[in-house]
């Protein structure tokens, strides 16, 4: 009896061990891609299934089968935690600017071999030499976006529209949404006051805090994702968010809601870029993948799916793409691309050191408690 039971147990253990080693040593060529959720054209609504298309294209071009393991993350911090645990290996990742700067400083990125990425020539000049990668050695920009103010034109007078002041206008008390995240919320106040958002002068941050405190009686609530439903339904009338996301809200706005969008004078920019982490196992393959993502068909499909602006000239110069988006959307998504690097390096968030981050978070908590 006991013997049989222990034999059974041993068999189960052995089985799981076999499974462990079996999975570890699969021979097929696989490329591990780690991207944001919902951040690639995936074949829905008759769009291009980018990953499948790449697998097919690779087999046709190189006569070898390849499998792309495509997984997603919810935030830069999640991705960073997973990579730095040392338990996983990815070949291509797509973090945001400030995280790229941090990973680069910590030696977590590999320099790219641009001879494998000839399509890099289509990346607009103004996306080169950005602060997180001044010599363009580690990154290929994937998308970018600009924060603007969204408002319901049925509630807000056109005369009040134009700057960050709208979010401090007491005429609209109880209609205003503010970011529920310290960096973004402070930035709205700092842009309004003309303070550098990356300053290490604590007095300036204190000034921004005071500005946020005068705003807080007017604020309906501090939100992140909830902004979609609150703006779409007309529950709130003013809020700041990314241009690409404004179109998602516009698509779903209720009757009697008339959402519009404008850029204040100073505002935040972000760039998400493709990089190769140091745990990469197929570097050349990863570069081929990055190059493929820059080619016309997948780049346009991704830009149409994600609805963020693309730094790729094959995309924003394409007639089909411009037609698909319409003139109005093009104007909002691509505002004055010419001096992008200048604006970006002046206004985009850069990584604060941990002492500053702690300080900002203390200020933020004091605002939320008050």
């Amino acid at each position: 009896m006991k013997k049989i039971l222990s034999a059974l147990l041993a068999a189960v253990m052995l089985l799981s061990l076999c499974a462990l080693s079996g999975c570890g040593s699969s021979k097929a060529l696989t490329l591990n891609v780690y991207n944001w959720g919902e951040y690639i054209s995936d074949g829905s609504e008759d769009s291009l299934d980018t990953i499948k298309a790449f697998e097919q294209w690779y087999q046709e071009t190189y006569g070898e089968k390849i499998k792309v393991n495509y997984t997603t993350y919810a935030s830069n911090e999640d991705m960073y935690a997973k990579l730095s645990s040392g338990a996983v290996s990815y070949d291509v990742i797509i973090p945001s600017d400030y995280m790229i700067a941090r990973m680069k400083d910590e030696g977590m990125l590999l320099p790219l071999d641009f001879s494998n990425i000839p399509n890099y020539e289509y990346i607009d000049e103004s996306f080169r030499g950005l602060y997180y990668d001044p010599d363009d050695t580690y990154t290929v920009p994937y998308t970018y976006g600009v924060v603007g103010v969204i408002y319901n034109a049925n509630v807000v007078d056109e005369a009040d529209v134009g700057g960050w002041d709208l979010m401090w206008n007491d005429k609209y008390a109880g209609e205003i949404l503010q970011f529920n995240n310290s960096r973004d919320a402070f930035a709205t106040a700092m842009y309004k006051l003309g303070i550098d958002v990356n300053t290490s002068d604590k007095a300036e941050w204190q000034r921004a805090l005071d500005e946020l405190k005068t705003q807080s009686p007017l604020v309906k609530s501090y939100v992140m994702d909830e902004i979609y439903n609150m703006m779409e339904s007309g529950e709130a009338a003013i809020g700041a968010y990314y241009a690409g996301d404004y179109f998602t809200m516009l698509d779903a706005q209720a009757d009697g809601v008339d959402l519009r969008f404008y850029y204040p004078e100073r505002t935040n920019y972000f760039v998400d870029a493709m990089c190769i982490p140091s745990c990469c196992q197929h570097k050349e393959l990863a570069e081929i993948f990055i190059n493929y993502m820059l080619s016309e068909e997948p780049a346009i499909a991704n830009a149409e799916y994600i609805y963020y602006a693309s730094p790729n000239s094959l995309v924003y110069e394409s007639e089909d793409y411009r037609e698909e988006l319409g003139e109005e959307a093009m104007e909002i998504l691509y505002p004055g691309i010419d001096n992008f690097s200048e604006l970006y390096n002046a206004y985009a968030y850069q990584n604060l050191d941990s002492e500053m981050l702690d300080f900002v978070n203390t200020l933020w908590e004091s605002l939320k408690i008050a």
Binding site: C23, S89, T248, A252, Q253
Partner: protein, 277 residues
């Protein structure tokens, strides 16, 4: 008093089922909005079946849940039998407590400690990546095991000890007595354990999140990761389908339960009349 209790019941029902009802209704909405119901359509169901990433995640989740449930049921039943057979009272109490630890431990601690262990062992053997399907499976078996043991052990204790003894008196080998007498006797416990293990594995997020490797992503993780943009209504459609499949299984199992009860009852009646006759 009576109306008060009715209102109370109604409130409980509303809080339990209103979220599911809303999800169900909006899965048929033609637009993306959660505030405006524009038009009835199957759009999101069509989109769902075209989304290979999500379907892959569903497949992963099912493969993981089924294998974790089966393995942990076999191991858990064996463990329960072993614990039951222990003669030493203190050793038995100790074993009971030890097997309960993974159940009492917060998920996040189980998740992190398992991840650290996998990374450590992986480094020891010089593997480039230490997390994969197998590590996730081990993690899921770990947290499912105590639930299986907890279901099977009481059934063993309730069982009449003389039953397997009688079987062996009548010439059964111990193995045969175990398979033919003990297993049928504790089967309800095993089945409940299996179902519990399956559902636990199916909706686990925290432990999976920490032990997920490169290419293996389960459905809860995929949905969580959609928060850069909004969660698409495809997920409402998927949740609706899952809800109805589970409802159907539940009805089926309840019906078969009712059948068994009925069958047992008629068998008993027959025996009684036979005795009298």
């Amino acid at each position: 008093m009576r109306t008060a209790s009715r209102i109370y019941t109604a409130l409980v029902m509303i809080f339990l089922f209103a979220p599911i009802a809303i999800l169900l209704v909006f899965s048929f909405n033609d637009s993306k909005s959660l505030s405006v119901f524009s038009e009835f359509s199957f759009r999101w169901y069509r989109e769902l079946f075209r989304d290979s990433e999500t379907l892959g995640a569903v497949r992963n989740t099912l493969v993981l849940a089924v294998s974790a449930a089966l393995i942990s049921t076999v191991m858990g039943t064996a463990a329960a039998v072993g614990i039951h057979k222990l003669k030493n009272r203190y050793l038995r109490a100790a074993m009971d407590t030890v097997t309960n630890i993974p159940m009492i431990n917060p998920d996040i601690i189980t998740g992190i400690s398992l991840m650290l262990m996998f990374v450590f062992v992986g480094r020891l053997f010089g593997a480039a990546t230490s997390l994969n399907f197998a590590t996730m499976l081990i993690a899921h078996i770990t947290f499912c095991l105590p639930y299986v043991i907890l279901q099977v052990l009481p059934k063993l204790q309730q069982m009449d000890k003389s039953l397997p003894e009688a079987a062996m008196d009548l010439g059964c080998t111990p193995m045969r007595a175990f398979l033919k007498v003990e297993i049928p006797e504790i089967l309800p416990g095993i089945v409940t354990g299996l179902i519990m293990a399956f559902t636990l594995s199916l909706d686990d997020f925290v432990i999976s999140y920490f032990t997920a490797g490169n290419g293996f992503q389960t459905l809860p993780i995929r949905i969580y990761n959609m928060t850069k943009k909004t969660v698409t209504p495809k997920m409402y459609a998927l949740a609706t389908i899952i809800f109805f499949v589970i409802l159907f299984l539940l009805l089926l199992s309840n019906l078969s339960d009712a059948d068994t009860v009925q069958a047992v009852r008629t068998a008993r009646e027959k025996r009684k009349t036979a005795k009298r006759g």
